[in-house]
Subunit: 677 residues, 2 copies
Amino acid sequence: MSPHPLDPLSPEEITLAGRLLKKAFPGDHIVFRVVTLQEPPKAHMIPFLDAEHTGKPSISSPKRTAFIQFYRGTAADFREVELELHTGIIRREKKLEGKHSYLDTTESQATEKACLNSPEVKEAIRMLELPDDAVVCVEPWTYGTDGMNDMAERIIMCYFYMRLGGHGDANFYAYPLDICVEMSGLEVKRVLSLPMGEHDRTGEVRDIGVKPFDRKKIHREENEYHPDLQTERRTTTMPYQVVQPKGPSFHTSGNLLTWEKWRMRVGFNYREGLTLHDVTYDGRSVFYRLSLSEMFVPFGDSRAPYPRKAAFDLGSNLAGLNSNNLQLGCDCLGHIKYFDGYFHTSAGDPVVLPNVVCCHEVDDGILWKHTNYRTQNAVVTRSRMLVLQTIITVSNYEYIFAFQFTQDAAINYEVRATGIVSTAPIDIGQKVPYGTVVAPGVMAPYHQHLFSLRIDPAIDGHKNSLMVEESHAMPINDPSIHNPFGVGYTTANEVVESETPLDLDINKARVFKIINENVKNPISGGPVGYKLVPHPSQMVLSHPSSYHSKRSEFGEHAVWVTRHHDHERYSAGDHTMQSLGGEGIASWIRSRSSPLGVRDEDIVIWHTFGTTHNPRVEDWPIMPVDKMTVSLKPVNFFWRNPALDVPISSQGENKSVLVKDVNAGDDVAVKTACCKL
Amino acid sequence: MSPHPLDPLSPEEITLAGRLLKKAFPGDHIVFRVVTLQEPPKAHMIPFLDAEHTGKPSISSPKRTAFIQFYRGTAADFREVELELHTGIIRREKKLEGKHSYLDTTESQATEKACLNSPEVKEAIRMLELPDDAVVCVEPWTYGTDGMNDMAERIIMCYFYMRLGGHGDANFYAYPLDICVEMSGLEVKRVLSLPMGEHDRTGEVRDIGVKPFDRKKIHREENEYHPDLQTERRTTTMPYQVVQPKGPSFHTSGNLLTWEKWRMRVGFNYREGLTLHDVTYDGRSVFYRLSLSEMFVPFGDSRAPYPRKAAFDLGSNLAGLNSNNLQLGCDCLGHIKYFDGYFHTSAGDPVVLPNVVCCHEVDDGILWKHTNYRTQNAVVTRSRMLVLQTIITVSNYEYIFAFQFTQDAAINYEVRATGIVSTAPIDIGQKVPYGTVVAPGVMAPYHQHLFSLRIDPAIDGHKNSLMVEESHAMPINDPSIHNPFGVGYTTANEVVESETPLDLDINKARVFKIINENVKNPISGGPVGYKLVPHPSQMVLSHPSSYHSKRSEFGEHAVWVTRHHDHERYSAGDHTMQSLGGEGIASWIRSRSSPLGVRDEDIVIWHTFGTTHNPRVEDWPIMPVDKMTVSLKPVNFFWRNPALDVPISSQGENKSVLVKDVNAGDDVAVKTACCKL
């Protein structure tokens, strides 16, 4: 069976792509960095999907094409190509001069090893007078541009921790050491001592000298999260299981997923991780593509070298490649379907990334209810949700990303932040204004998480508009306006005409509606649409002149609307590793020769949201999830409640159990009537 | 066993209270309006609870006292008393002159009957030329003051609908009729015709005349939500059950509820419904009392008589009394404990309100996770939540209120709005700027839901403060500030000194921390606290000079802090029925002879949140839930993650099931390893 044009490359296709590329560069040593599906141009996909949706005779499928990034010989010759798999023809080739590829485990491990083997580093560690059982762990970080280095050179920052007590899963982030190393390639450039108080400034390790405190004294069980290292564990939480006697309500066939009235294709790639394509509800087109475009984690500590801590966890660290292998019984309950992803070795051989996406259902409480007080009859439905979840680990931290589909035709995008907060050393007794002391000697710096959700809508077709709606009090002293009691309010609507960023305004109940002006709702008389229910968030705090701001253009505003372009997918630019700015969403808009109209056009909506995370002590040693949710909800898209036909809740199917009071004498009546149905 | 001082009055106590009151007013005809627990003064409760918490010899329990409101003879003599149950002594008595008691079912039904029996109303209905099978339904509404009537007179507004098709649960809100009636007592004051378009103005029914359209044509199945009247019902949703093989993790003994490390007393009264008292975590005091104080639903339609639609669903309609009888298998899954409430007849006899609160657990996905990429070992815990849920029906509409307790020591307050939107008639083809046409001839007016959550904190004691924290970029051109890269940011804190309203500011990541300045966190060095995570919402839209605004003082600002007073519990005032304003939270603050300090004092925090609900067609004929969530989260209250000891997730306990691909040839490996534990 031939793959669907939106299916990720199969292992066989990855092998083929590698072979074809090597053939195209005979004699060269090829280091494969990326081999992934080059998604077909939307212009080709639209007629294909239209035919597919309407069951018309299939038109010819867009060609399977691989997008490949590779080093030709060395990293100095970094290139990308689009390679047609059935012909081997290279359709596009580009030298990526001055660009850096992502940081992966291979490079991290080699960097760590080289760093630890360097005599200067060994000497610096010796001077720290660590306990005998300390195992030093080096954490390589992508270099967050601060303007102090020649940007062409690839720099990796190494931060140091120690593991105590001999257990491999001891929490080394609890013991940050007060040195760091700047690496270039596998060479140590500089060994620096880290600031240990508000007024310390970093410098060469020998300049400042090391003032070790007795690190043995700070070894404490409270720093550990691994169950082997925890003696206390509550035993009061009774088991809780989800039973689905007739199996799940979803169906999959390859990457095609159907559930209730939803239908979509599940995609996955090395960078964005989970992507969703061609999302329809009850046969009507809703979204062409949904994905996390980028995320940025800038730190607020102003002391060098910390301004270099500024992570693009998609562009530089790769959400797809860092996806967890999800396990039965751990990451979800009930009936679970897993999707695998595929990557490849540097030689171009395919590698399975097992279980990177899990698909399951959850009960989300009541969906709708009404009791007719005249008859006392209640009717209740429960809300079932379909969840597509993926979890990434980026060194110390984890993100849980979930698309949730509801029976009332909404889509939620939920992000949970967890894992271990990034830590820095601090002298006992010191405080800093840009961080929280979470354990003795351990400071968790303030930081932001800014996510950029890319929403490529197809609301009843591909020509869409963005309408901004606000709720305004009616004036009271305008004789032309009938508002005699001062209580009237109405909505003001404006359709956005050309590409622009937009801000939220809670005080005006500003709503962003993605509408199709060509399709009217026969009941309301207005256009059909979906609204974005944003997650209200503080935008990026760094100064506009800073590299943080220049590099994370999406972080400046909460909502952006652009005209669709196939190659505009990453809102901080295609290459975030050591980027200098000027290549994200604001730059795209600025670069147009004249303003591009976005009314009744193929548009993309981008939502920036996140959290200003000033750590609590409660976030230590492992952080309970911090949840953020964005929703896309139909607004006059349907002719009535799309969940009107959801099964009525009943005890016959739900099989709940009555709990009696612990007091023996308690006379709880047996209650079995269920909403009188 | 003697009741706990915070236990609601038992049926026996209600009987006793009634008997004692009648004895105190011999010969009078007493119409009981309210018989409920007069909660003991906080000044008496604090030493009692301190002794209880520390296991010291119990000090004498505060006296059981009933709070009673009643008509002495007629509603013209409306009074309230505090009556000591063990002595029969009336401790306080007050004549409630000019105040109106709530609207209940008895009065509603009598009003409806009187209205329908009136010759003028009969004539008005005749003129509407309704279909033969039409059953006219009258909906009595509390009178939302608009300044047009003598306020001393009790007015009930009657809106008219018709039920078609003969089924008792047919949705009559789908057929709003174009008349309404102003009732005084059981007398018809005026019959009015309703405006049918934007420029119509209401008047005497005969003045404007009735222009009936053929109502038979608008009878449609799409208007029905009751399963008997719905032919379409999806069959794709497979059963989903929650199984708890060892029972629930919570324990109750009377109104005392313990779950995980939480301990609290469940309260319930006729007005607020569910209340929570003396909430502790792991033996540490957190909140003295949590409750919904009030809610206000003003409508945005400026045409008379609609400015009278402005419901105080607690003060005038009573959340407690309108609480649903929750049923096994309908409103929750799993193991469910129900709590009953108690009310009384107008004669003072106790009445059980069965199952008004349900208590159950839910799984809320992942609580924390980390994968050590060096060992590839993942550790996951799942988040179990305890939910205390109550649902109220206020004529057409329902609210689902839930306190959710988490294992990481947070409390969420979730509100779901569902039911049937309020409707008004509209001529076919007409539109109005303050409403959505949701079905032919049916307009759902714009409205707001504004909730006032009352948070009476006891963070490690009763002397608390409110700290407002913001995240600010560090300046870049101040030589005294070290911010060479322009990326630094810090927090600015201010402790509120005296009673005041406050607003949200998302752009500054403004956080409201309830702190105890007397208790320092030994790790962070700062005060212990809980933060309010608000639900950002538009505040009340009506003009400050309007009765809507004057009556709903809490609706003007998102956060309020006041000094605790036992009698300040309802933020729109004790008497909202036909209120004129000047008796809510702003008035309390204004009324102090000098500003009251709220720093290191016994304080109360009030959060106003809600939604500007401009209905969608999708909200018809029954509305899928619209969710709002407010959270209270520990912030440097604990010395580490309080959920660190939660059981590690494992397949052995969770018993999930692997779903294979529908394609026969699919070779899904059997995956059983669970996080390697």
